[in-house]
């Protein structure tokens, strides 16, 4: 590995802190630009979705189990389950399915 993990962490720490603190300290007014506000509104959802799929089917030993976890997670969140119950249910379904799908 040619890069230093500590240096990676330092870069991340500085950027993270700047994002969270600059608006609170410097720019105390609302963002006026409508495109920019809309853009910032959509960013988290697109980022999270891009990072979730196909990564979720590649994270598990059986892609089928990861796929089922994805569908189950969407269904549970749709009927109102919170972050933690959805996360636990996804883990549980992968654990059970891989019991049958993957040889120990």
């Amino acid at each position: 590995m040619k890069h230093q993990i500590w240096l990676y962490l330092a870069v991340m720490a500085v950027v993270c802190y700047a994002i969270r603190v600059l608006p609170l300290t410097l720019l105390r007014k609302r963002i006026q630009n409508r495109f920019l506000r809309s853009f910032l509104y959509y960013v988290p959802y697109v980022t999270l979705s891009v990072m979730t799929f196909p990564a979720i089917v590649e994270a598990t030993r059986s892609p089928v189990a990861g796929g089922v976890a994805l569908v189950l997670g969407i269904a549970l969140a749709w009927v109102g389950a919170g972050l933690f119950p959805v996360a636990v249910s996804c883990c549980a379904v992968v654990f059970v399915l891989e019991w049958f799908l993957v040889a120990a």
Binding site: C16, V46, T52, V86
Partner: protein, 242 residues
Amino acid sequence: MFFLRKHRVSLIRGARDGVPIGLGYFAVAFSLGIAARNAGLSAVQGFFLSFFGMASAGEYAAITVIAADAAYVEMALVTLIANARYLLMSFALSQRFDPAAPLRHRLLVGYSITDELFGIAVAQPKPLDPWYCYGSYLVAIPSWATGTAVGVIAGNLLPTRVVSALSVALFGMFIAVVVTPAKRDKVVGLFALLSFAASFTASRLLPALSGGTRTILLTLLLSGLAAALFPVPDDDTKEAQS
């Protein structure tokens, strides 16, 4: 007078509200620790990843950058994109502060803006007492950081079966964060599905593109498209809920 009686009350209330958040954080941080271990981080590095990162998606994105041994500038860009929503929350919080609130409180409260901690802070009456935030931070931050370190260590000890199952916890949380608003805003749901499709297509057609770069490019492209086609209304209701 820096610490009044009402601040102590706020501090205790914040700490109490921080307990359920801290418990959830520990579990998710544990699964983040497993991912961090796979990218080559030690337990101490995992601790500081979470201590400074304070974000599941942002840290997960950072881990993919480290795993890919990508350039430092990619780390900066990925961190910026994956944490961009905290810019919005920081703006929203700035509206809730006492305008005379000193800089040191702004510097400290800003440090740990997360989806959950922001969520309970904006539910407080205006003006926001920073000590309420500190109470919740004192419970949630140690839990988040130690959870990651424990995940790095215990990920080695657990059977692969269990590790494989726990590795989806993070994705489960991402799903819940997206699906809940998608129910009342169909555009969010539409773009979540488009993101799935685009991310899958890009990973198959352009396998040389690292996960971090893919996230940056698709986020800029699809969020820009969404903002151009479906601009949000001018009130701040959407922002307050995001």
